[in-house]
């Protein structure tokens, strides 16, 4: 053994040692974050998968749950119905969203700010509230639209029937098209006019240019929107419960609910939920492989000039279309919901002697549960938003600064809940944490944990996007001057991120206030939230009180979002700059 090799080994050894020392702290951090994510994400999903393979009482391994869950033609039919619903919604939402996004982002259509505001209003409206609005609008005999139709034509019967698959597709599409809109318009904002100019020079007219050049460039965003609205639609519980049941068909989510009836069959429910999980994973895989093949490099940054296309008289046509979509999604449902909220009996119509404040009085004074429920909703949603943002910010930081090895695992776990429909997640949470030792059933904790998990992907995406916009050099400056990492985070990062964090907070807060499917299996009598109370009230068809509660929810949500937007000085979701 020579001296040199000894030296080498010593050097090597000290290198490993210092590396180990450094790893120690970061490994601990990594382990802590992994543990939190395992608790929130992995364990509930695993528990669900395991219990789908267990016998109810003995816990023995079995495939019987799958046999029972799929050995029934009606259960299979529900699966087919869900697919039909998802595809219908995805297509209709695209039809609604893409033209509007294009008109706002690329043309001189008038009234853009207003249309954008209405799209935001559609985003805030929970689907079940939209469903109630549409029941009042298009109930086959009593809906306002049908009444108007019958009055105008003298017909015996109305022409719209909300209690149908078409009706359900419409209701879900009008509340989920904002997703596709946001995706598409933010991509369109990045496409420069140069390529369109090239097409124009070569003789293509506006329409041809748009269809052959502009829209193909943003295909990834449109596909993203299609996938999101598809997944939203198949995972939805509230709107199908209100519309599909009277229409006399089931979808997967309403069928899942039935497994919790007398006698409760959690294991069969778990087995039945698996395809929903599989479909979602498949969709994401499909998206990746579809988009992986083509280059979309023109959507890279903000370079290039952007000019608005002059539409001439067609801009009024575009505005008309945008207003039509807004009417379907916001104006019409809102008018009838407001009418019902202030009506003694909504069927009696718009007259002064039908006007009353009693529905609000009933909710806020006579009904002892409502006040608590309203408070719960906003407290839980706020806490959820804080929890999700703090956790994902920590993770995004660790990931973007590559503080630990395999940090991508953390990122993956954060976005994984995206592929778990809310109702399935709730069943997993219930299976994992409702019983002792944790015994979280009926506590606020389980709801907040469930919500936090559900919205981790949104929070993570926003936090990571915020962090990406900040150059690490600024922190490095702090550290070169002797400051620790925590100091750098506290004094540099957080102040810089304040606005985008506030935006992210609102992005989690709003969907949390309206979340029904994750809440329905996790609430106890003292932890009810507005969405669940609306669902309970809707059993009796008590539309006046329901609408009043919905109005309270919307006003409070919009007020909080408005304050938030004011604070951060921009409409946080609908525009890029």
């Amino acid at each position: 053994m020579t001296d040199k090799s000894l030296d080498d080994r010593a050097l090597h050894f000290s290198g490993v040692a210092s590396r180990l020392r450094r790893l120690d702290a970061s490994i601990l951090l990594w382990l802590a974050l992994i543990a939190v994510l395992a608790f929130l994400v992995l364990n509930p999903i695993l528990r669900l998968i395991i219990s789908s393979l267990q016998e109810t009482d003995t816990g023995h391994f079995t495939f019987a749950n799958y046999r029972v869950a799929y050995g029934n033609i009606r259960h299979l039919q529900a699966l087919v119905n869900s697919l039909e619903l998802g595809i219908g919604v995805a297509l209709l939402a695209t039809l609604f969203a893409v033209p509007i996004a294009w008109a706002i982002s690329r043309t001189d259509m008038p009234g853009k700010a207003f249309v954008r505001l209405m799209v935001f209003a559609a985003f805030v409206t929970p689907p079940y509230l939209g469903a109630i609005g549409w029941i009042l609008l298009a109930g086959p005999n009593s809906g306002w639209l049908n009444k108007v139709w019958m009055a105008l034509t003298g017909a015996e019967h109305g022409i719209f029937n909300i209690y149908s698959m078409t009706g359900l597709i419409l209701v879900v599409a009008v509340t989920s098209f904002p997703y596709t809109f946001v995706f598409t318009s933010s991509a369109l904002d990045l496409v420069s006019s140069e390529m369109e100019d090239a097409a124009n020079i070569l003789g293509a007219r506006t329409l041809r240019t748009t269809l052959r050049i502009t829209l193909p460039l943003v295909t990834p965003a449109i596909i993203g929107g299609i996938i999101i609205s598809f997944l939203e639609a198949i995972a939805l519980f509230g709107a199908p419960a209100l519309i599909a049941l009277p229409a006399r068909f089931n979808v997967v989510s309403t069928q899942l609910w039935q497994f919790f009836e007398y006698p409760v069959r959690v294991e069969e429910a778990a087995a039945y939920a698996m395809p929903l999980l599989a479909i979602t994973v498949l969709m994401f895989w499909l998206q990746r492989s579809l988009l992986g093949r083509k280059g979309y490099t023109s959507v890279t940054g903000k370079g290039g000039e952007r000019r608005m296309i002059a539409l001439g008289p067609w801009r009024w046509v575009m505005l008309g279309y945008a207003l039509f979509v807004c009417a379907l999604s916001v104006f019409l449902p809102m008018v009838v919901l407001l009418q019902a909220a202030f009506a003694k009996a909504w069927g009696r119509g718009f007259s002064l002697d039908n006007l009353t404040f009693h529905n609000f009085y009933y909710l806020l004074v006579e009904q002892t549960q409502a006040k608590q429920t309203i408070l719960n909703t906003f407290v839980y949603s706020a806490v959820t938003a804080f929890a999700a943002i703090s956790l994902t910010l920590a993770i995004a930081y660790v990931v973007s600064r590559k503080l630990v090895p395999w940090s991508n695992v953390l990122a993956f776990l954060c976005v994984a809940p995206f592929v778990v429909p809310g109702i399935v997640l709730a069943i997993g949470f219930y299976a994992a944490y409702a019983s002792p030792p944790l015994a979280l059933y009926g506590t606020a904790t389980i709801l907040i944990l469930g919500f936090t998990t559900r919205f981790l992907p949104i929070a993570y995406t926003s936090s990571a996007a915020g962090l990406r916009s900040i150059n690490p050099e600024m922190e490095e400056a702090v550290r070169i001057l002797g400051g620790g990492r925590l100091l750098a985070i506290r004094k540099v990062l957080i102040p810089l991120l304040k606005k985008s964090l506030a935006g992210a907070w609102i992005l989690v807060f709003i969907p949390a206030t309206r979340e029904l499917s994750a809440a329905i299996f996790l609430v106890g009598p003292n932890t009810r939230v507005i969405s669940v109370m609306l669902f309970d009230l809707s059993e009796e068809g008590n539309f006046e009180v329901l609408s009043a509660l919905g109005v309270i929810l919307l006003i409070a949500t919009v007020a909080i979002a408005a304050i938030g937007s004011k604070m951060i000085g921009r409409d946080f979701m609908l525009r890029r700059d």
Binding site: R74, G139, P140, N141, S142, H157, Y163, A244, L245, P246, A247, R248, F249, N250, T254, Q258, F260, E261, Y262, P263, V264, V266, K344, A345, W346, G347, E366, Q367, T368, Q369, Y430, A434, S435, P436, A439, Y441, G442, F521, G524, P525, N526, D536, L537, S538, E539, E540, G541, N542, F543, V545
Partner: protein
């Protein structure tokens, strides 16, 4: 002297009940509490509240009962959770599975649930003093003392008088099969409503499942709660409520809605609705006091004010609603309900599609 501890207190009061030595209750005013009631009240005040899952009535009547209890027994808050019977059952079984009982008193409308939950050992045994003072037909459903009839209601046929003339209205159940009601019948869903479950079972006993196969051809609008049928009549969505809950419908008439009730010539369906205390609940004394309250004349008066049956002989029926004793009544036995309602739910889903 020895100080009375809470535990002794509870033991004492239960012993009193078990022996059935409580003094006679005559008038249930707050001022004149019986010693037993006073004991329960004192113990319940320490608990401060109770949670009541109820499917007995609509939300308005349930809230009225809750408020009445609170004013009779100041210091005890009632959390009223009104849902359909199946939803209440679903939440209860979730709580049992998670060993975290949130509900104190469960008021169902499906006797089968009571039989099932009692067999599982989910109920606390408690024989209310008032249970011996209700009308004879509501006595002794569970001699072991785990569940008691605390409400009863009638199902007939309702119609919208603005759309249907009295002469044209259905007179009996089979009239619902007339094609003229196509697209114009409202029904509840047995998969949710306990009332509708028992109603469907009763009609299956009477006419066979064939009746529902034919009814489905009339394309009825199926909601969830039985009370939804009244909403559909008021809205003008349906002309006839095939499963018409007398109480909710008459309450709606009082509000000025153009509705009327038909008591079918082939028999109105009487629903017997039970209540129980959950084993392991958090507010056992408040729960006992509430059970006494549900079977008190005061509660019956509220039921009658909201057009539901009185279960106490002292409280006469309302002038508007016809009491069960004056009508032809059809109803299944408890054993039939326990076995039959789950069957009916299954058949319903096959026939009506959801």
């Amino acid at each position: 002297m020895f100080t009375i501890r809470r535990r002794n207190f509870i033991l004492g009061s239960s012993a009193l009940v078990a022996l059935g030595t409580g003094p006679k209750v005559s008038a249930q005013a707050a001022a004149s509490m019986t010693p037993h009631e006073k004991e329960l009240y004192d113990a319940a005040k320490k608990e401060g509240e109770l949670t009541w899952y109820t499917a007995h009535s609509d939300d308005i009547t349930s809230q009225a009962l809750g408020r009445s209890f609170e004013s009779l027994y100041p210091g005890i808050k009632v959390n009223v959770l009104r849902t359909t019977a199946q939803v209440a059952y679903q939440r209860i079984t979730q709580e049992i599975k998670a060993s975290a009982i949130q509900c104190d008193v469960l008021s169902s409308t499906d006797l089968g649930h009571s039989v099932e939950l009692k067999a599982k050992g989910a109920f606390e045994k408690y024989i209310p003093e008032n249970s011996s003072k209700v009308l004879d037909i509501y006595k002794g459903y569970d001699p072991d003392g785990y569940y008691f009839v605390t409400s009863a209601g009638l199902i007939g046929i309702g119609y919208n008088t603005a759309k249907v003339k009295e002469a044209d209205a259905p007179k009996n159940w089979t009239d619902l099969l007339d094609p003229r009601w196509n697209n114009n019948i409202a029904l509840g869903h047995p998969g949710f409503s306990g009332y509708v479950g028992t109603w469907a079972l009763t009609l299956r006993n009477q006419y066979g499942w064939d009746f529902f196969e034919k009814l489905a051809k009339n394309n009825p609008r199926v909601g969830r709660s039985i009370n939804d049928t009244v909403t559909m009549l008021n809205a003008g969505e349906s002309a006839v409520a095939g499963s018409g809950p007398a109480a909710t419908l008459l309450e709606s008439v009082r509000k000025g809605n153009p509705l009327a009730m038909v008591y079918p010539t082939d028999g109105s369906v009487l629903i017997i609705a039970p209540s129980s205390i959950m084993k392991g609940c958090k507010h056992p004394n408040a729960a006992r006091l509430f059970m006494e309250f549900l079977m008190s004349p005061g509660a019956s008066q509220i039921w009658v004010d909201h057009f539901t049956e009185s279960i106490r002989p002292e409280v006469p029926a309302s002038k508007i609603a016809k009491p069960a004793k004056d009508l032809k009544i059809i109803r299944p036995t408890v054993a039939e309900i326990t076995k039959g309602v789950p069957e009916v739910i299954k058949q319903w889903r096959e026939t009506f599609g959801a």
